[in-house]
Symmetry: C2
Subunit: 214 residues, 2 copies
């Protein structure tokens, strides 16, 4: 298969190498026709690798991978050309990251509030800890899964309160990861929908998230 890659960063190189390792041809595209980064990658990547402009890569690919920095994404797609992408699979690996407040980044698009933050506003003197919201009630206590225990992510502004809730979760059979302040509920509530959507689609309700670590 012919793969076009839009972007010369680490993601583009990693996926480019991945496609090459599976026998595909890969053209890496960048803003300039003669990108040093793309040329260096082609040199190391071998005969099935090539480079060109965004438009070249988009025209080349049967599947096109979008792996640009967020702030360059709209322009990269413009340069790639709507007709070069028409009808093709465009694998969007990007995230709309806002680094304006430093590390870690926040989402620049559509992730602006959460129920957890509302609850903290409604109960301002309480030490709110978001927990148990990413799994169905049948699995909240003694969750038993192959490959478990699953992971409960929690969020809250008070470290001692999170420590106490972690002890409760441990007693209930969970491993716990502290996702940050109560605004991290913005990250956990979408997991509820992902959990529910999978249940609706599969007709099963026996699933839970885990963060694999090594």
């Amino acid at each position: 298969m012919k793969i076009g890659i839009l972007g010369t960063g680490d993601v583009g190189k990693a996926l480019g190498n991945g496609f090459l390792s599976r026998g595909h041809e890969v053209k890496m595209g960048s803003r300039e026709a003669k990108s040093e980064k793309a040329a260096a990658w082609v040199k190391s990547a071998g005969a099935k690798a090539s480079a060109g402009t965004f438009a070249d890569a988009a025209a080349f690919g049967e599947v096109v991978v979008l792996s640009t920095l967020w702030e360059g994404t709209e322009n990269a797609l413009k340069l790639a050309g709507a007709e070069n992408l028409a009808g093709k699979i465009l694998v969007d690996t990007t995230n709309p990251l806002d680094f304006s407040k430093g590390m870690p980044p926040r989402l620049a698009v559509g992730n602006t509030n959460s129920g957890g933050e509302e609850v903290q506003r409604w109960a301002p003197k309480a030490k709110v800890v978001k927990a148990f919201n990413i799994v169905g009630n049948a699995h909240m206590v003694d969750p038993k899964f192959p490959g478990g225990p699953p992971t409960m992510f929690i969020a809250g502004n008070d470290a001692d309160a999170k420590k106490s809730v972690t002890e409760i979760l441990t007693a209930f059979g969970w491993e716990t990861i502290d996702a940050g302040g109560i605004e991290a509920s913005r990250l956990l509530e979408p997991l509820c929908i992902l959990w529910v959507d999978y249940g609706v689609k599969s007709g099963t309700w026996n699933h839970a998230f885990k963060l694999l670590r090594k």
Copy 2:
């Protein structure tokens, strides 16, 4: 420990039973002092279980669990009383669910757009499939984790395109779950931030999500 539960639904009962099973005392609170659901639960749950109003449960608990339907949450906290919650841990298990468009629900708060949807708007003729955005580039191809393979969630509007991307992901060593249309990017992009936040906090970058299933 004394636990107050705000709400008499399945979550309140499941967690109430969980706390009782670990030897704690539990008071279940509801809008009416004489809730039939709470009374039935107390009858089945034994001597360490009791029931009362939201205010009774909040006053009773050293730890208070919030397990109301979203539309009743603000009022439940008002009825519980700010002073009864002051300084206490409030475990927020709620999700701000909007069922107005049927099942599955959407988030009613703060989850209104995504990079994936923007990309689909910028490349309207392409078959955009969100993928590879929830893990670092070092693990995008041949991800090796204890308990793996990890799960890649994907989103997009074209079923055939998602099938092709699933084949790519399988070849790269992933198990794949189709999270829905491109608007499901709203659920996947927060996972990127959760992934990055854990990396920043732990100083490690060798982790990936998995949906445990049985």
